[in-house]
Amino acid sequence: METTLIVGACQAGVQLAATLRDLGDTDPIVMIGEEAHRPYQRPPLSKGWLKGELEPDDVVLRTRQWFADREIALIAGDRVVTIHRESNGTGIAQTLGGRQIAFTRLALTTGAAVRRLALPGTDYRGVHYLRDADDAIALGPALAEPGAERVVVIGGGFIGLEAASAARQLGKHVTIVEGTGRLIGRVVAEPTSDFYLAAHRRRGTEVLLGARLARILGEDASAAGRRGSVTGVELEDGRVIPADLVVIGIGVLPRVELAVQLGLEVAGGIVVDEACRTSDGRTVAAGDCAIMPNPYPAGVGGMVRIESVNNALEQAKVAAATLLGRDAAYVSVPWFWSDQADLKLQIAGLSTGYDDVVVRGDPDAEKFAVLYYRDGRLIAADCVNQPAEFLAIKQALSKGKTIPSLAAADTGVPLKQSVVDAPVALAS
C-alpha cells in the first residue's frame, strides 16, 4: 500500500488529491497545510472580500464532507519542517506540531510566500500585506474603518491594482506607488499597461510611476509600548504621501525550503519537467512553487513559473497522474483573470518571447484586446471586457491555430471567424 503526502493545502494540493481519487487511487492520502483555515480560494481575497461582499464559507474550496467521503486526511494549522527520505522512496515528514507522517509518495504544493518590503517602517499599525486569508481578514475591516480615508498601495501589479480598486470603490482616496515605469510590467505589454494607468486615473486613483520608496512613516510607539500607526510613505526624492492605511503588494517568492532540504533542483522555483516531476525523479511539485519548461508549444524555450489558479489546477492534475505512474504532460493553454472595478481582464496564453503586438478595438472605450505574436503566430492575448474574444483566442491557441494579425485588427469581424491553421510549425 502507498501513502501519499501532499505538503500544502490550497488550490494545487486539493486538486492533486481530487485527481488521485478520480484516477482510482484508494490508498491513504494525507494533506497538510500550515494555515489554520480549511483550503480556500485566494483570488476573491483581493476582490470581493475586501469590499465586504463575501463570508468565509464563500471562499472554501471543498466541504468537510468532500474530504471525508474521499478519505483525504486534512491537517490544517501545522507545518512540515523536515522531511527524511530513504533511497527506496519511503520517508517521514516531521511537523512543527510534533507529528510524524510516514509516506511513500510525496507531492510539494507549497505555494509562495508574500515578498516582504525591505525598508524601514513596515511594522507600523495600518501596514498590510495581502496574500493569505489572515491578511485579508485583517485588511477587510481595516479598510471599512471610517478613519482609513487615505490608502497608499505599494506595487502596481495585479494584487496592488485589485486592492486599489476595492479601496477606491469603498470611497477611499487611493494612491498607487509603483517603482518601475509602468503597471503590471512583468506580465503585459505597454498598451495594456497604459490602459490600466489611464483607467485607474479615470476612476480617481492617483498613480505614481517610477516612484522609489524610501520608507514608511508612522507615529512613535506609545508609552505603553503600543505600536504607532502609519502616517504615510516617503519617496527617495523626499516626497511624502500621507496615509492612514498602507497595502504592500510587491509579489511573492516560491516556497522552496523543503525542496532544498530534499536536495531537489531549485532555480527560481522547484524545477519540474512537463510531467511535474522534480529532479529526484519521484517527488512531484505543482502550483506557484514549481517552475517548468514553457508549456505552450509556440517554440519559446525557457522555464516559467506561473502564479495562477489555472496553472495550479493543471499542474496538480498532471502531478497526480505522474504519482500513479501514468504518462501525463502539461498541454493546456495557461490563462489568467483579474477583476478591477468594472474591468474584466482575461489573459490567454503566455506572451513570453513576443516580437509583435496588435491592439484590437479602442482602449479608451474600455473594450479591447492586445494580441501577442511571435514569428507571425499568435501566442497570447490580453482581453479587457471582451469575454467572447478571450474564449475564441483561448480555443484557437489550444487547437494550435492562429489569427492573422491583419484580421485581428479588424473589429468588424468576430475573432472566432478569423481563426486559421498556423502556417508553419515553429522550431523549438
Binding site: 468532500w66 471582451q386 469575454p387 467572447a388
Partner: protein, 106 residues
Amino acid sequence: MSTVVYTADDGSVTTIEGRPGDSVMEPAVRNGVPGIVGECGGSLSCATCHVFVAPETQALVGGPGDLEDEMLDGTAVDRRDNSRLSCQITLADGCEYHVTTPSGQL
C-alpha cells in the same frame, strides 16, 4: 435552504442543499458534483460552469446577462436556448432548481 438537482450528461442525478445567496455553481464545486468545473470560482471569467436549465426552473432563473451571454458563445459544448453559466444563477430561499450539465466543460 435551497435545493439543486444536478443531472449529469450520463443521466446520474445529484441533489445538494445550497445556502440562499449561493450560486448554482458553488454547492456543486464544494461537494464535487461531476460536470461542473467552475475554475474561476464564480467570477464570470472561465465559462466552465455551463448548465442547461430544466423547463420547470426556467421561470425562476430567467436569461443570461450581457457578459454571460457573450461567454456562452465560447463554452466547450455549444450553447442552447436554455444555457446559463451556473455561477450567475443565485439561489433563492426555499426554491428547488433543476439543471443538466453538458458532456464537457474544458
